[in-house]
């Protein structure tokens, strides 16, 4: 890849992307834990529930891009200011939401001041939370994720062990991963389960 054999642009042993920059690490550490209240906020203030994931992504994009210039501290008020501005702009642009929605948004101050998710409590519950999340996965996805993450098996080994096609292993892995991200970042473990 490069002329000097000692140098490579990319490597199989590259660490997690979240460890590659301060901004990524900050995003994972400070912003993602806010997802639960962010989702509550978006659901509360946006009538079209089918667009919530898009709004969440847009908030994350704006927050991350702002942080690339300067990491905003503390994170929480910043994230909610971004969310609020995003919703206001959408309301104005799309004119599909009753204008009262904007008035509601001004009450955001209350939402931001509402008790933060207790970090210590979250940490205390982390293991329970992880287990509850894994337990709530569909059985096949759960098996695949456990074999991959806890047992350290490769996809090929998992396919053999479970007698599945490799493509099926990938399907369970990706669906399991997405469900886990939702459960770990947002929904209460055990809620409704």
């Amino acid at each position: 890849m490069a002329e000097t054999p000692n140098i490579s642009i990319a490597g199989e042993n590259a660490g997690p992307v979240m460890a590659e920059s301060d901004v990524n690490a900050w995003f994972v550490r400070e912003v993602l834990p806010l997802e639960k209240i962010l989702m509550q906020f978006l659901r509360h203030h946006w009538p079209n529930q089918g667009e919530i994931e898009d709004l969440r992504q847009e908030v994350y994009v704006r927050v991350h891009e702002a942080a690339q210039k300067k990491i905003p501290e503390p994170a929480k008020p910043f994230v909610f200011t971004v969310a609020r501005n995003l919703l206001i702009n959408r309301v104005r642009r799309e004119q599909i939401v009753p204008i009262e929605a904007v008035a509601d948004l001004d009450e955001l101050g209350i939402a931001v001041e509402a008790p933060a998710p207790d970090r210590a409590a979250i940490a205390r519950d982390e293991l329970r939370r992880l287990q509850a999340a894994i337990d709530r996965l569909p059985p096949r996805a759960r098996e695949v994720v456990i074999l991959a993450r806890i047992e350290g098996m490769t996809g090929r080994e998992i396919a053999q062990r479970l007698g599945l096609a490799e493509a099926t292993v990938s399907e369970h892995m990706t669906s399991g991963l997405r469900a886990l991200a939702n459960m770990l970042n947002g929904e209460e473990p055990g809620a409704g389960a």
Binding site: A2, E3, T4, N6, I7, S8, I9, A10, G11, E12, N13, A14, G15, V17, M18, A19, E20, S21, N24, F27, L32, E53, D54, R56, Q57, E58, Y60, V61, H64, E65, R119, A123, R124, D125, E126, L127, L130, Q131, I134, V145, I146, A148, R149, I150, E151, G152, T154, G155, R156, I158, S170, M173, T174, S175, L177, R178, L180, A181, L184, N185
Partner: protein, 322 residues
């Protein structure tokens, strides 16, 4: 191009990347493609980070699994782990019960203070035959007495070669963790409340007060434990990675597929003249090689020759840009 893709579609792509990277064959070409995809759109990056963080968090169940058994046997060579899931649940119960135990981690210890300035190294030899090497910018407070042996690592990094003495085990205190030596060689690096312990030889027990309660793990040679307020994880790095942990004892830094961001952070530990990475994805380039830790010039030269980066030299910093 991304305007046509919904958040859920991007999420499906990100999940597919994680699946490929963690479950299937993965080479430089794949990594290059992933890097390109991540750099293409911040929406890709944040979505990937969100899924990756969930994946990384599951690692904690792994640390749990190794809790109760104290392995006295030689370490297994393979990094793959095979014990049944049921053990995780069992360990979980044990830990929940142990989580309330309290240790006076923060009790200030008296003793003699040893410190190294930025860029320096020092070897301390103690009367009990133990030896401690301090890396750059390190503060250590040691008490070697007839009835006890303790060393508090206030900051920095040190390599311990401890002479075993069952009547007075050697205890290293670092923040909210402590290490109880069972006759060993190990390296400890402390960055604030993040502690990394790598065991070269012998056995050592790590006790760490995390937000989730007390964690205890016993390390086998070749294993690295990372203790943070969030928890303790154990990994078994590859051989070359292990060598690079102690490269500082020879006055060099060894990089294997290390990102430029990480490499620069390492250099900045050793040098007053700091390297700064400019805007853009430069920090994600990866580099291999061995460099003198106290001289940034060869490193800067390599980034210039290989990556075509420009190095702007200011008073006490060097800014790398494209």
């Amino acid at each position: 191009m991304n305007d046509t893709k919904t958040a859920l579609e991007i999420e499906a792509q990100a999940a597919a990347w994680l699946d490929r990277r963690h479950l299937w064959d993965w080479d430089d070409e794949n990594q290059t493609q992933l890097n390109a995809w991540l750099a293409q759109d911040t929406a890709h990056l944040v979505t990937y980070l969100r899924l990756e963080s969930a994946w990384m968090r599951l690692e904690r169940l792994n640390a749990l699994k190794r809790q109760p058994p104290m392995r006295a046997t030689a370490p297994q060579r393979t990094p793959r782990r095979r014990s049944p899931y049921a053990k995780v649940a069992a360990a979980f119960v044990v830990l929940a019960a142990a989580g309330v135990a309290a240790i006076p981690f923060n009790k200030p210890e008296p003793g003699r203070v040893y410190a190294t300035p930025v860029g320096a190294r020092e070897t301390l030899a103690f009367s009990d035959g133990s030896q401690i090497e301090l890396n750059t910018n390190t503060i250590l407070r040691a008490v070697i007495a007839h009835d006890k042996r303790t060393a508090a690592l206030e900051q920095g990094e040190a390599y311990f070669q401890i002479k075993h003495d069952s009547t007075r085990p050697f205890i290293v205190i670092a923040g909210k963790s402590r290490l109880i030596d069972l006759g060993t060689k190990f390296s400890v690096r402390r960055d604030g409340d993040r502690l990394q312990v790598t065991l070269m030889d012998g056995r050592v027990e790590l006790q760490s007060a995390t937000n989730a309660g007390l964690r205890k793990v016993t390390l086998s040679p070749g294993e690295t434990a990372l203790a943070t307020p969030q928890g303790v994880t154990i990994t078994r790095p590859k051989r070359e990675k292990l060598d690079s942990v102690l490269a500082w004892r020879k006055g060099v830094l060894m990089f294997q597929h290390t990102t430029l961001a990480e490499a620069v952070a390492e250099f900045n530990r050793y040098n007053e003249r700091k390297i700064v990475i400019g805007e853009g994805p430069i920090g994600r380039l990866t580099i291999n090689g061995t460099f003198p830790s106290n001289d940034v010039e060869p490193f800067v030269e390599v980034t210039r020759a290989v990556f075509g980066l420009e190095a702007k030299k200011r008073d006490d910093e060097i800014v790398l840009t494209r």
